[in-house]
């Protein structure tokens, strides 16, 4: 029964969409390499890399097990720097001493100050899909714990 509950949680909790900002990518083979590296990851439905925007746009498939850390690690492997990311994530919202955290099973997203009062007032513990901007953690210190500024509740 415990396994069934955990299984149900992990299949629901996941990243659905990532617009990952990438610094340092200046040429077509750079974009080609990043696109190819990302496409090799299981769980991606669609990948598009834009040199002019400096972004990788990712749509993730249902029941994927990808994490933002895996995506940013791939950016780093290509020699670039992963910065902020606009994400849509489904997860379990937990109230910890008055602060909310979204857990996906593999990663934790702490909701930071700056989120509007209107959005904050709508947050309730339980399964939820959130839209927000994940702050840059620096390429050398990716731990799977993130700070997110909410921009919407879906």
């Amino acid at each position: 029964m415990i396994m069934a509950i955990l299984g149900s949680f992990s299949s629901k909790a996941q990243i659905q969409k990532v617009d990952q900002e990438v610094y340092g990518m200046d040429c077509a083979p750079c974009a080609y390499g990043l696109e190819r590296g990302l496409k090799k990851m299981d769980g991606l439905k669609n990948v598009r890399v834009s040199l002019n925007d400096g972004k990788a746009y990712l749509e993730l498939s249902e029941n994927n097990s990808l994490s933002l850390k895996l995506i940013q690690d791939e950016v780093k492997r290509n020699g670039f720097s992963a910065k902020k990311a606009e994400v849509v994530i489904e997860g379990k919202l937990i109230n910890k001493n008055g602060s909310f955290e979204l857990e996906t099973g593999t990663e934790t997203y702490s909701i930071v100050a700056g989120t509007s009062d209107d959005l904050n007032s709508k947050l309730k513990p339980g399964t939820i899909t959130l839209k927000g901007v994940v702050q840059d953690e620096g390429d050398g210190s990716l731990s799977g714990t993130w700070q997110i500024k909410l921009t919407g509740i879906l």
Partner: protein, 285 residues
């Protein structure tokens, strides 16, 4: 063939063999002649075929050269380059060829280490790379001098963006003595400025073209023979300039360009150059 040469070539081939075990990926590209900084992605593979020609006042060389590069990490790249000499020069000037290739009949293995990289904006980065190479000749005699193995080291630093590029670097190649004779050494420096016009600012996967103005300064030492008086202080001074063009489309890259001498202050035994031309085709696996 001397045992040391056999061992040297074995090391080169072993480095090539080990590097082909790994998986593949892709990344960056820079100028044709000048030193550059980009390194491949971790696991990335780049294959190059180049056609090179160097014309002196007496003769012209033609060479095909193949380059295999592999990204051990995103900051450490191993390269192996081998030549097919079509026409050798009897009296070859001491020079490097394309930025990561010898201009003569050497087989060369090199390590590129990007020891500094700062990606500070969309499409922008500032980075520095150190290069260490070893090479073994494919001929016994070059310009009436016994050819030995050589070592080469260089450092370059540069800026890349979506519009402007610039690299500056310097290097040194040293040939070991062989049977009492020794090819002259080669200190050199390069400066490259690159630009991409607005018309080629289309987003990936559209074709991507850029133009470079390359400058190369070389200070080759004279060859050393038995019984010759010490001419260590005697060096030629050459400055060459010219344009090169780089086109990129998906996994393919083509670059071509030429260098022309603007300064040739040569020692009596050095040969005068007319031009260098080169074309390079790249494929990122």
């Amino acid at each position: 063939m001397a045992i040391s040469n056999v061992i040297f070539r074995f090391i080169l081939i072993s480095m090539f063999g080990v590097s082909t075990i790994f998986t593949i990926n892709a990344q960056g590209h820079g100028p044709l002649y000048g030193l550059q900084t980009p390194t491949l992605a971790k696991g990335g593979v780049d294959l190059n075929v180049a056609g090179m020609s160097l014309s002196t006042e007496d003769e012209t060389s033609y060479m095909l050269r193949y380059l295999f590069s592999y990204g051990i990490t995103e900051n450490l790249q191993i390269n192996l380059t081998t030549p097919t000499m079509i026409e050798r020069l009897d009296n070859a000037p001491r020079t490097r060829g394309n930025s990561n290739m010898p201009a003569n009949g050497d087989i060369e293995a090199s390590l590129w280490y990007r020891f500094h990289s700062n990606a500070f904006g969309v499409g922008k980065r500032f980075e520095s790379t150190a290069i260490l190479s070893v090479s073994a000749p494919t001929e016994d005699v070059r310009g009436q001098v016994n050819v030995g193995n050589s070592v080469h080291g260089a450092v370059s630093t540069g800026y890349a963006s979506r519009t402007w590029y610039g690299w500056i670097g310097g290097g040194y190649q040293y040939y070991f003595e062989r049977n009492g004779e020794q090819l002259g050494d080669l200190p050199y420096a390069s400066v490259v400025v690159g630009y991409r016009p607005d018309i080629f600012m289309g987003d990936y996967p559209k074709p991507d073209w850029r133009i470079f103005m390359e400058t190369l300064a070389e200070f080759p030492g004279d060859n050393q023979y038995p019984g010759q008086q010490d001419l260590t202080g005697s060096r030629s001074k050459k400055v060459l300039m010219g344009p090169s063009f780089l086109g990129l489309y998906g996994a393919w890259g083509v670059s071509f360009g030429a260098l022309f001498p603007v300064v040739q202050d040569l020692t009596p035994s050095a040969v005068k150059e007319n031009y260098r031309v080169s074309i390079n085709l790249s494929y990122w696996l």
